[in-house]
Amino acid sequence: MPCFIPVWIRHLALAFWGAVPLLAEATNNPGTHWAFQPLSQAEPPQPKAVGWARTVPDLWILDALERAGIEPSPEADRIAWLRRVHFDLTGLPPTPEEALAFQRDPRPDATERVVESLLQSPAYGERWGQQWLDVVRYADTHGFEVNTERPNAWPYRDYVIRAFNADTPYPDFIRQQLAGDQHGRDAATGFLVTASVLLPGQIGADDISKRLARQDALDEIVVNTAQSFLGLSIGCARCHDHKFDPISSRDYFGMQAFFAGVEYGDRELTDLETQTRREDIRRWKERKAAVVATLSRLEPLARPGTPTGNSPSGSTAARVALKARMNSDRFAAVTTRRIRFTVLETNSLEPCIDELEVWDLESRNVALASLGTQVRSSGDTTVENRHELRFIHDGQYGNSHSWMSHEKGRGWVVLEFPEPRRIDRVSWARDREGVFSDRLATAYRIEVGTDSGDWITVADASDRKPFEGRNPTADEWELPAAALAELDPRSRQQTQTLLDERLRLERAIAGAVASQHAFAGIFRKPDRIHLLRRGDPEQPGPEVSPAVPEVLGTVRLPADAPEPQRRHALANWLTQPNAPLIARVMVNRIWQGHFGTGLVDTPSDFGRTGSRPSHSGLLDWLAREFIANGGSAKHLHRLIVLSSTYRQSSGHRKEAAALDADARLLWRYPARRLDSEPIRDAMLTVSGELNRQRGGRGFDLFDQRGGLSGFKPVESFSAEGLRRMIYAHKVRREPEAVFGAFDCPDAGQSTSRRRESTTPIQALNLWNSRFTLERSSALARRVRREAGSLPQNQVQRAFLLTLSRHATTAEEQEALEALRGQDLEVLCRALLNSNEFLFIP
């Protein structure tokens, strides 16, 4: 239903002063909206006051202040600027040494030096990447009720951090996120699929549910693209022509058609880095196999037919318990052409085996199909490309390369070698990737064939301890403790070295395998896209081909354009040189990152309902400067943080506030509370505990990484948990227990600008949480270590660490008073809760 402004509203609106010209503009000339216009080429103004401006943006700011009759504020003290620029560019406070050195640095370019070193620090991308992740609502779970883990989302998070650190030209940043698969940046297309999504199995079995879920999934991609790059809310046009912006439903579905071949899912990475990693994995696996082969010589021999309850548990002869992830059966060497694995019982359903390996005396797996070994079975449950008989000896692990029997609780497989083999060990598992532990053979028999056609049992489950359920820490191959204890000291030492190496390799492989895939979208033959009446998939209208909104451009592809071409074309259009809207939106985001509010205070709405810029000339000049410098964010940071505008004091001035309460004209630096992540990171920094490990799988904030049954927060963090918060495993919609209350976005919808609220829940969290108490203790330990035992020195050190300054005499007195009869933790807890610590000055 097209619903541009109804007549009766127009009539009412005409009575409303000030609206007439805008209304005429909107209804008659939809293309003339300011944000769609070419960038103004105006030269910077020449304010009256000479000598104040340091960088070009200052000219605009000062000029507007002069017109409003407001004086700029005096320059902030050096430490205030230093803390400001540290938090702004890296999200971390300066160290006491940095603060003291800067204070004493007489060189005229001392500030430039600080800014350069911060921009080169990897912490820069960890701060600015967060702001982009807010916009694209990044999370490590799939959302909705099931909210399952999205285990391979983080490569996109790391891509964003690295892209900022590398000062990736903005056009490349756009292109990579839409079509990185075509530009050697696979993980970047994670952008397309950051939203909540219902996965297969979570969608209803009926077709109506399926169609609706697909529409919702595509809608999120369109909304994300339009909001993030164009600053336009075109999602409204899914159900009706946009009420305020010149975007029709046809425009909306035209945009949707660009993404009609994108599915939410993991994609195997193919970029150079991944190829290198793949080679590493191959080498590590080979090495691990060799190590295990050596170690397995120490495994006790299987003793088939051991009467139940007779398995000696403490002796070297005891075999380890059955596992879902890895079982090894060693027996006296035997020469044979055939080996049979018979399942007699499972813990549930039809048995499933991901790989059956048979080892000869040179530690070669002779079961492999590639060596000519043939396979047959009692019968199979075949699910194409998942469960097939051939997968039992294809050298690939995991549920999706496994064999499943056709019978519940039983089944057999025979491997026949092309020639007799001398073998002494079999290894097998339900799922070496550790995901599944059902369908496990809990009773089994391994037999070798004789020349006369008989079978001799060489191993079974009778002398094993039963399956004890999953045990993530000891699920892999293990040696019975007793077998190790039995060895002489020297052999034990050597064996231990091998065991350690095995564990290291295991972890390296697991980490590298995990990063072979990224949740970066799967690309397939595009769906046909129809204009849907009221956005209802059950009311399809005419077919729509990929096209950009009419008011913005003319790119249009045929309805049958192949998938990659669609995203390629869209990326080309979004990165065409001198696109005014796109540059304006991004420079405004950067400005907002420094001042808390953008020149346009509706950063993802540059449409008609959005604000006009407070300084339109400046916005356009910045956009031109951005384009002229290849879309370098760092270039803009320099212009901004070295400006006189940015260096102003944040002091409140009544007469100025009376004219401009929110300081939109920037007569002062608008002080603001730290965001949730920088609070946590800053606490860890000053307590000396921050773990600077970068990238990779996120650390846990809760007792589980996804799921629907409630999340119990981790209370006490150590090691990985002391990394920067951007490296936390982000559970969608589940606020972090302490810092979530500090307006941390929940990754449900896009957050283009964080609110700054103040609540008693924040106070309770920061005052009483174990996190704060543990940081207070660590900070106190650090202070004692660095300042010695004299209370005055301790007080001074604690202030310097947390606030980058010394305590005044009065403050020192009050602190010493408080510490009478109390531990240093009291001071540390108070400092970590203080306004001065928590505000960007």
Binding site: N147, D206, A671, T758, A830
Partner: protein, 493 residues
């Protein structure tokens, strides 16, 4: 530019440019819109408008006047997660006895979980109740006694047949993730009377969090302060005290913090944010006292515990839910604006909530034994104390269930096309049954109300116009009811 605009401040210019257009939206007209917008920017004296809160994030819970005179001051929502079957509770369908075990004529072949089986009669006997003679099932005998006071809506529809999106839709008005929940909207609109307690409390079922988790009480893009504070008789509010810290150490640190902040404030006069943070610590200190006091049910007399079933040691889950019901009453007694009372936990094949796909009767016997007596006792207790005059009690669930069993199962699949929720208490007409489903209970056929209407009605009872309660997010004036919603006047007193 209009000459009058020349005299405006910088913000005033900005507003004219931007909001002049905005104000023509169908929902914000003429001078109402202008005062709304100027008020929001703090350019006029405080207006009786929810948006004023944005200008005063330091005092987010301060009471704010509604749009018009309200019927209700507080709300308790009894939220039955998992989708309660309307056919086993409030929507009597005798025809199903006649059609039992026959295929549904023209019915769907496949529903949410798979192939449809034959029609199935209600699993419980229905009998007339109270003065109105309303037919209610024996599953919920205690609640059934209250039907004379209840207004039922039998003809609700949802936009989704999947729990997650449907609970989103019920709680936020959108099937997608990330929109503010109804309790957040109300806290944002009205603040709350008791500044020592949160405006919005979510009491979790003893068995765990509901199916859609925190989306049911999330604040979406509203300021974080408006999200529901999770609480229950079993798990009190987090971080009320510092583990392992003595009272003396706590006080010494608190005093020192006060001094630090005071000196800092003196060096930065005029900064309201700083003063607000200082105030928030004072509020927090008061909460540290008030929350344990409310949670302490030992002051409740034995007859109250007995009436709710909170003393039922043989049925600890029921007793736990009963304690949450008592807690709900104590919260509204002390002026908490919005209390969500969850009955049912997460997806569990219907074991822990009302999702009766396979063994409906067996599971519902257990679930009803937890819900029925405590919830009924809560309503009676509120009435007896006069609290029902100002408190609206809502009973809701995300959708209903199909009139036929699933193929090969003894349970019913998801049905978003016609289901029942009800309200009682402040502003509600007593003993009404509004809206009708077809004779088999498959879909609403008369007075059909998408859940938008139910939420619009809820807001209306609090004195809020669902079309005027808005918040701008990324260029859209968002509402709880999106661009839909009509107040269901037939159930208003």
């Amino acid at each position: 530019m209009n000459p009058r605009a020349e005299s405006l401040s910088f913000q005033g210019h900005g507003l004219l440019d931007r909001r002049g257009f905005l104000s023509r939206s169908a929902t914000a007209l003429g001078s109402v819109a202008l005062t709304h917008l100027l008020g929001r920017e703090g350019l006029l004296a405080a207006q009786p408008d929810a948006s004023a809160v944005l200008a005063d994030l330091a005092h987010p819970n301060r009471p704010r006047p509604p749009h018009f005179s309200p019927k209700a001051q507080n709300v308790i929502v009894i939220f039955c997660a998992g989708a309660v079957s309307q056919l086993e509770t409030w929507d009597y369908k005798p025809e199903l006895h006649r059609w039992h075990d026959k295929p549904m004529p023209g019915g769907p072949a496949v529903t949410f979980q798979g192939p449809a089986g034959n029609l199935a009669r209600p699993q419980y006997a229905f009998r007339p109740r109270g003065q109105t003679g309303k037919m209610v099932s024996d599953l919920i005998p205690h609640l059934a006694e209250l039907t004379d006071d209840i207004a039922f809506v039998h003809s609700l529809t949802s936009k989704s047949n999947t729990h997650g999106p449907a609970e989103n839709f019920l709680s936020t008005g959108f099937a997608l993730d990330g929109f503010p929940s109804v309790g957040s909207w109300i806290g944002y609109a009205l603040g709350t009377d008791n500044q020592d307690l949160p405006a919005f409390v979510s009491l979790l079922d003893p068995r765990g969090v509901p199916q859609n988790g925190s989306n049911n009480w999330g604040s979406g893009f509203l300021p974080a302060t408006f999200q529901g504070t999770t609480w229950s008789a079993q798990n009190p509010v987090r971080h009320l005290s510092a583990p392992g810290i003595t009272r003396e150490a706590d006080q010494a640190a608190r005093r020192l913090l006060g001094q630090l902040n005071q000196r800092h404030l003196e060096a930065h006069p005029g900064d309201e944010k700083l003063a607000a943070r200082i105030a928030s610590y004072e509020l927090a200190a008061r909460m540290q006292l008030s929350v344990p006091e409310i949670s302490d049910l030992s002051t409740e007399p034995a007859y109250i515990l007995r009436a709710y079933g909170a003393d039922d040691t043989g049925h600890p889950i029921k007793a736990g839910f009963a304690r949450n019901c008592i807690l709900a009453r104590r919260l509204v007694e002390r002026g908490v604006r919005f209390v969500q009372l969850f009955n049912g936990a997460y997806a569990s094949g219907g074991e822990l909530n009302w999702d009766g796909h396979n063994k409906l009767k067996e599971q519902y016997d257990r679930h009803a034994s937890i819900l029925d007596q405590p919830a009924a006792a809560l309503i009676r207790d509120l009435r007896q104390r006069g609290l029902l005059e100002n408190t609206l009690v809502v009973w809701c669930t995300e959708f209903g269930r199909m009139p036929f069993f699933q193929k090969g199962a003894q349970g019913r699949d998801h049905n978003p096309d016609g289901f029942t929720c009800w309200m009682t208490g402040a502003g509600i007409r007593k003993g009404v049954s509004h809206g009708v489903t077809d004779e088999l209970g498959r879909a609403a056929v008369k007075d059909i109300h998408p859940l938008y209407d139910f939420n619009a009605t809820l807001l209306h009872l609090l004195g809020l116009d669902h079309e005027r309660l808005t918040f701008e997010h990324n260029g859209v004036q968002r509402r709880l009811t999106n661009v839909e919603g009509h107040v269901i006047r037939e159930i208003l007193a």
